[in-house]
Structure formats: structure tokens, C-alpha cells
């Protein structure tokens, strides 16, 4: 592999010299890093990057991390960093790129995703939230659900129906929604862990200016698909070092608690360890394959495995803990600002992991994507195909 280009090294050095991480505030440092083009080196100049190959990014990250530079918090603003930013870059106007990317990068503005609805889960293209033209803007009415971070978010990426008279995939448009606008009501949605990571979002006569439309009118499905491919990579392909993620938690418990070991759980642990290591390698291989920022359906395949292993490992850990596994921290109704899948206690991890095969595309939908888009298998007969959205049975 090539060395880091000299110019890039100079930029890293200059950033660190002019903004000493020890004395510079977090957002200020991240802002300076963005302005230097070191946020996403594969993004264009002015958008946090330098139009360089994506493969230079890990080394830039490593150099900055080893100098003690602050990192942006993927857990707090995963939607903004992992999904909104690449989507805005690809489909946004220059003004949108200019307005939105920098505060996403610095964490100044948190984003949420207004996609799923009570009647549109796996069948996302069925969304019923309506956006109607009104002068130089749009008026939006509807209900969204499973919206993480809506209570902290400044902006939401919104999928809404702008034309009910055409088949469902064709009548959608993608917007950036101001979460402080009048008519937005965010209600916590308590989940099986006891807390409310998610929300329901009710939109009543919310006005969105046309300059906050992302992509063409009726192009919402293509834009949303790009967002969701990014989500799957963000969720499924992040493991780096050996024993990072859930297997690290399980292995640590095994090593620290010889008193709990059984032969059966030992056999299971070794199988899960091997599978986690292979998933880590597959993630590394996929990242090497990805051209800058444009993931394909292969990320879907990794996410299926990630979800299964997280569920099996957390279940294994509760079994290992035995009687201790019967005790659950507490059941407070809180609204966390970030999600830590490997944090908290074993009971929480076990319960939270059930969501891994549902959020970001159920494992069943992902298998269908792999089968149709990678293996080229035919689609199942679809009664909704070619039928105007307004005539579909709902």
C-alpha cells in the first residue's frame, strides 16, 4: 500500500500545530479538522474532504487519535454522521452541503431519521405521511415511529408521499425536516429494556421550505435507498480490533469468572469467538472493497451475521452468569442520548440485542436483498406492483 501523500501529512501536522488538542475545545477542534479537509478525506474540498481515495482515512484517523485529538461521537449522532452526511453529499445542492455537513461533523447538530411509520416498516415505500405543495414550500402531515434521538435532534431526514396517484415507489420525496418547527411533537416510545431510546414523531401542518428538499420530487426512494445502504454498513461493519464488540465482553467475562465455566458453554464460546473473528475479517475485507462512500448490498450480508452473533453472545452471557443473570439493574424510564450496545449490564445487553435483527432492515428483508441484488434471484410475485399508492389495500 502507498504511504500517506505528503500533502496529507502536512495538513495533519498543521492542524495539530495550530489547534493543540490539549487546549482546544472539542467542537472547535473538530471544526478546524473539517476546514482542513480531514473529516472525510474522500469528500470534496469545502465539504470536509480533499477528494482523495477513502483508503487514506484510517491512517489520518490513527495519526490524529495518537495525538490525542477528540473524535466525534458516532453513538450520539450516528444518523447524522453515518447516513445524513453521505446522502446530503450525494444528492444535496451546494447550498445544502455547505449548510449541513460541518455541524454534523462537529456534533453541534444531531440528526434523526423520519422514515418508518406504523403502516410502513419493512415495506418502507408504503409511507403515508403526506407532503403537499404550498407556495415555495411544503406542508407535511403524518406520523413517524422508531425515531432514535428525535428528542435531541436539530434535523431529521424525512421520507414523505408527494404523489399518491402513482405506484408507491414513484410518489416519494426526501426532505430535511427542522425538528424545532411548529407542528412537530415528539413522544417517547418505551421499549422492552425499560427505557425510551426511540420516539414517535407526529407532524401536523409542518412547513418545509423547498430548498430543504433533497433530490428531485418523486426521487425519494432512490435517495432513501442510498441512506439505508449507508446505515447497514454503519451498523454491521464497524468491528476493527480482534475481540472488539460483543465477543470482547463475553471473552472478558469468561476469563474473569472461572467459577462459572461449563464444558457446554466453553464449546459455544469458542464457536462464537471463531464466528466473531470471521465477521471482523469479512468487515475488514468489505471496507477494503468499498469505493469512497458508496456501499453496495454486501453490507446487508454482514449485518445479518452481526445481529445473529450479538443475540447469541448476549444470550450466552446470561446463561454463563446463571443466578446472577436473573438480576436486572433497574427499569427506569429514561431517554438516553446515545446507545451503547456493549455497555450496561448483561440483562440489558441481551434485551437490547433483540433489536439488532429488526432495526436498519430486518434480517429477513436483508436476506431478500442479498438474494435478489447479489445472487440475481427473481422477486416474488408482488400484488402491489404498478398499482397507484392510493389504491393499495392498507
Amino acid at each position: 500500500m502507498d504511504e500517506l501523500p505528503n500533502d496529507l501529512r502536512v495538513r495533519v501536522g498543521r492542524l495539530l500545530a495550530e489547534h493543540d488538542p490539549a487546549t482546544t475545545g472539542r467542537q472547535e477542534f473538530l471544526g478546524a479538522r473539517f476546514d482542513e479537509g480531514l473529516a472525510w478525506v474522500h469528500f470534496p474540498p469545502g465539504a470536509g474532504g480533499l477528494a482523495l481515495p477513502y483508503e487514506f482515512q484510517p491512517e489520518v484517523d490513527r495519526l490524529l487519535a495518537s495525538a490525542g485529538a477528540p473524535e466525534n461521537d458516532m453513538r450520539r449522532n450516528g444518523i447524522g454522521l453515518g447516513m445524513a452526511a453521505p446522502t446530503i453529499l450525494r444528492f444535496g445542492t451546494p447550498a445544502q452541503v455547505q449548510r449541513f455537513l460541518r455541524p454534523i461533523w462537529t456534533g453541534e447538530e444531531v440528526w434523526c431519521q423520519l422514515f418508518s411509520e406504523p403502516g410502513a416498516g419493512s415495506d418502507l415505500a408504503a409511507v403515508a405521511t403526506r407532503a403537499v405543495r404550498d407556495g415555495d414550500g411544503w406542508v407535511v402531515n403524518g406520523q413517524k415511529v422508531w425515531t432514535s434521538s428525535a428528542h435531541n435532534a436539530r434535523w431529521g431526514i424525512l421520507l414523505a408521499r408527494t404523489d399518491p396517484d402513482v405506484p408507491k415507489h414513484q410518489g416519494l420525496t426526501y426532505f430535511v425536516c427542522d425538528m424545532t418547527a411548529p407542528g412537530i411533537e415528539v413522544r417517547p416510545l418505551r421499549q422492552l429494556t425499560g427505557e425510551a431510546e426511540f420516539n414517535e414523531v407526529f407532524l401536523t401542518d409542518v412547513r418545509i421550505p423547498d430548498e430543504h428538499r433533497l433530490g428531485g420530487e418523486g426521487q425519494g426512494w432512490a435517495v432513501a435507498s442510498a441512506t439505508l445502504n449507508n446505515e447497514r454498513v454503519a451498523i454491521g461493519g464497524r468491528a476493527d480490533a480482534r475481540e472488539s464488540g460483543m465477543i470482547g465482553v463475553a471473552a472478558r467475562t469468561w476469563r474473569e469468572r472461572p467459577d462459572l465455566r461449563t464444558a457446554e458453554l466453553h464449546g459455544k464460546l469458542l464457536r462464537l469467538w471463531v464466528e466473531s473473528e470471521v465477521l471482523r475479517l469479512a468487515g475488514a475485507r468489505l471496507r477494503q472493497k468499498l469505493a469512497a462512500g458508496q456501499p453496495g448490498p454486501e453490507g446487508a450480508a454482514l449485518k445479518v451475521t452481526f445481529a445473529r452473533l450479538a443475540q447469541q453472545l448476549t444470550g450466552w452471557e446470561l446463561e454463563l452468569l446463571g443466578a446472577e443473570g436473573l438480576r436486572y439493574g433497574e427499569w427506569p424510564m429514561v431517554r438516553p442520548s446515545s446507545v451503547d450496545l456493549t455497555g450496561r449490564d448483561a440483562g440489558y445487553r441481551y434485551l437490547r440485542a433483540r433489536g439488532n435483527s429488526i432495526e436498519g432492515g430486518t434480517s429477513e428483508i436483508l436476506r431478500t436483498i442479498v438474494a435478489e441484488r447479489i445472487l440475481g434471484l427473481p422477486a416474488e410475485p408482488r400484488p402491489d406492483k404498478g398499482v397507484p399508492w392510493k389504491d393499495l389495500a392498507r
Partner: protein, 377 residues
């Protein structure tokens, strides 16, 4: 740029693959391979000679100083993917990978002579250990050295039927293992009717025959250990090749086969199973590429990572290849049960490969030690 080695295929590896595939497509036909099950091994010698004469596969892992091509384990792995794709009945793994690795770690001049002969395609060797022996196995205790002669018997040896020189791990006293070279003609080599006749086993008996010492005690143990580790690491690529063929063939089949007025590949129950197989095959590829990268080759020895990588690859790929082959048969329905359809060749090879160079269970035991996940006390 990260220091992470690429798990993708390089252009050089791609060119090597294309050459091997072309020759195999022309000369490794189904009839010839099936013949191995009916007592007709006439395909084997000519095919192996062609692979050596035209592609120098026996020279691949031999260093240039010995007249070889100084290739890497990654390149040998790509060859194994292609050999696996057609279940080719040639002794590449046993001679050009495992035997060659044992010779590379052997200090005696006789080892260098054999390496040159391998590079020239004039010799085929095999390591006389049971095919099931993994990297941690105590190989070599079945043959004794007495007064410069070798005595004993080893069952279920792969590559012995094709070899003209046997590389024999042997114990002089206690458990100190040496490595000897013995002309195959002086041994009793009894063919075994094998589960996988495309890698037919043999029982090898040495009735007190002279040989040449290749590696004395400590070096001998290391040579055998290196060879079995490399065999385990690269077998994963053969398993990948087998599994990839099974997946591709099954996808093609379900897109053609019609029942209930639809192609069966449009049923979600079928699609999801194939999606899972795709995930499995891509996971195998990552594990196999990593294991091949970690084990070096003619240019460099095994890295510290190689033992973990090899055991991860075998623990995963051995079972995955069997699963893919079993699913391929199920998804083919009745035709998958026939002798006429070649799927059974892949199932038999996959099942035998799962046991070869250590079962998944023995590799789990290795890993428990290597990564500090000890069993209950």
C-alpha cells in the same frame, strides 16, 4: 494508509487463477474425475504432469534459489480455490504445499536436492501423516528409526499414491521427531477405499527401509509442525473453492427449475437459504484470505498470527463448506441424490476436508489455548 494487508485478490493472483482455470476447464472433465470412484485413475497422472509442465505448480512455493518460482501462500491459495472448484484429483496440496513446506524447514542438503527436483516437476512428495492430523497433532510417533532404517505403519495418508518420495516423520527415542526421505518404491503403499476418492488415501508400511535424514530431532518437529499448519491454513481456500462452486451451481439451478408455475428461486424459503449460503461463502473467503496472508510462503516464514489464523480458518471453513454442499444437494432435490450429478463429489470432498488437518473441534481446542479462553478446570 493502514498497515492492514489486503484481503482482496491482486492482479497477479487473478492472472494465476485464470491460467489454472483454463487448463482445468480443458483437461479436468467430470468423466475423468468420476472415474476415480470406479477404479480408473487415468486422469490423475496426465493432469498433474500438465499442471507442472505448463503452469509450474510444483515450483510455486519453492524459492528461486532452488529453481522455483518463489511464490506466496496467497498464490498457492488461489490455485487451491480453482482445484477445489473442480474437485481436481491432483496432489498439489500434499506435495506442492505440505511436502514443500516441510522441506523448506529441513536443514539437510538432501532437502535442497528434493526442492530442486520438485521445482523441475521431476518429483512428487507427501508427508507421511494421517490426513486427519492437525497442527497440534503428535505426528511421527508411529514410525521408529532403528540402525538407520525406518519401521512402522501410518494409516490414511493422502498423496502417497501419487508420490515417488515419502517424507517420513519418525521417532528415534521417546518423542523426538526427525524427518526422513524414503523412496516410495521401497514402502508398501496400500490404497484405501476412501470417502473422497478424489483425494484417495493409502496405508503406508515401512518394513525396515533405509532413507535419507532431512531434519534432525528439533528441526524435524518444526518442519512437521510448519507443514501441517500451512496445510490447515491453505485447505481453507480449497474449501472456499468447493463451496463457491456449490453456491453458483445451485443459484443457476433454482433460476431454471420451475414448479407451481414459477422458478423455485423466486420462493422466499429458497432465496433466504441461498442468501445465508452467500454470507457463509463470503465469510469463508475472508477467513481463507487472512489465513493465507498470515502464513507467508517461500519468501518468509510463518508469522505469530499464523497459528490463530489457520485454526480460525479451519474451525470455520471446514464446517461451512460441508453446510454449503449439503444445502446444495437439498436445493437440487432428487437430482442432487444421483451419481450422475457431480454434487456428490463436492459433498464427499467437503466432508473429508472437514476432518483433514484437524477437525473443527481440535482447532477450537487449539484456539482455546492460543487466545486464552481456557476450559473449565
Amino acid at each position: 494508509m493502514s498497515n492492514e494487508p489486503t484481503l482482496l485478490y491482486t492482479d497477479v493472483e487473478g492472472a494465476l487463477r485464470a491460467g489454472v482455470r483454463k487448463l482445468l476447464d480443458e483437461r479436468c472433465g467430470l468423466r475423468g474425475v468420476l472415474g476415480c470412484y470406479d477404479g480408473d485413475r487415468s486422469l490423475v497422472t496426465g493432469l498433474w504432469r500438465g499442471l507442472n509442465r505448463e503452469l509450474r505448480l510444483s515450483a510455486l512455493l519453492v524459492p528461486e534459489a532452488h529453481g522455483g518460482d518463489g511464490g506466496s501462500c496467497r498464490e498457492a491459495a488461489v490455485v487451491l480455490e480453482e482445484l477445489g472448484r473442480v474437485v481436481a484429483p491432483v496432489p498439489f496440496l500434499t506435495s506442492a504445499v505440505v511436502g514443500t513446506t516441510a522441506l523448506l524447514a529441513s536443514p539437510a542438503p538432501a532437502a535442497a536436492v528434493l526442492l530442486s527436483a520438485l521445482a523441475a516437476g521431476r518429483r512428487t512428495v507427501t508427508l507421511v501423516v494421517p490426513l486427519a492430523a492437525g497442527p497440534g497433532a503428535a505426528a511421527g510417533l508411529d514410525i521408529r528409526v532403528e540402525a538407520g532404517e525406518l519401521h512402522g505403519r501410518v494409516a490414511n495418508v493422502a498423496g502417497a499414491l501419487e508420490a515417488d518420495v515419502l517424507l517420513v516423520p519418525a521417532a528415534r527415542s521417546g518423542e523426538s521427531v526427525e524427518l526422513w526421505a524414503v523412496p516410495a518404491a521401497t514402502a508398501h503403499i496400500e490404497p484405501v477405499s476412501s470417502l473422497d476418492m478424489t483425494r484417495q488415501l493409502a496405508d503406508v508400511t515401512l518394513p525396515g527401509v533405509p532413507g535419507e535424514l532431512l531434519a534432525p530431532a528439533e528441526a524435524g518437529r518444526r518442519a512437521v509442525g510448519d507443514a501441517l499448519l500451512t496445510g490447515a491454513a491453505l485447505l481453507a481456500s480449497e474449501q472456499l473453492g468447493l463451496a463457491q462452486w456449490c453456491l453458483d451451481t445451485t443459484v443457476d439451478y433454482v433460476r431454471l427449475r420451475r414448479q407451481f408455475g414459477r422458478t423455485i428461486g423466486s420462493f422466499q424459503a429458497v432465496k433466504h437459504r441461498l442468501a445465508d449460503l452467500y454470507v457463509e461463502v463470503e465469510s469463508m473467503r475472508a477467513a481463507a484470505r487472512h489465513a493465507a496472508t498470515a502464513c507467508g510462503g517461500a519468501s518468509g516464514g510463518a508469522s505469530a498470527e499464523s497459528a490463530v489464523a489457520a485454526s480460525v480458518a479451519q474451525a470455520f471453513c471446514g464446517t461451512a463448506a460441508v453446510h454449503v454442499a449439503e444445502e446444495a444437494i437439498q436445493l437440487h432435490g432428487g437430482i442432487g441424490m444421483t451419481w450422475e450429478h457431480q454434487l456428490h463429489l463436492y459433498l464427499k470432498r467437503a466432508k473429508a476436508d472437514q476432518i483433514a488437518f484437524g477437525t473443527p473441534g481440535s482447532h477450537h481446542d487449539e484456539l482455546a489455548r492460543l487466545v486464552a479462553l481456557p476450559p473449565p478446570v
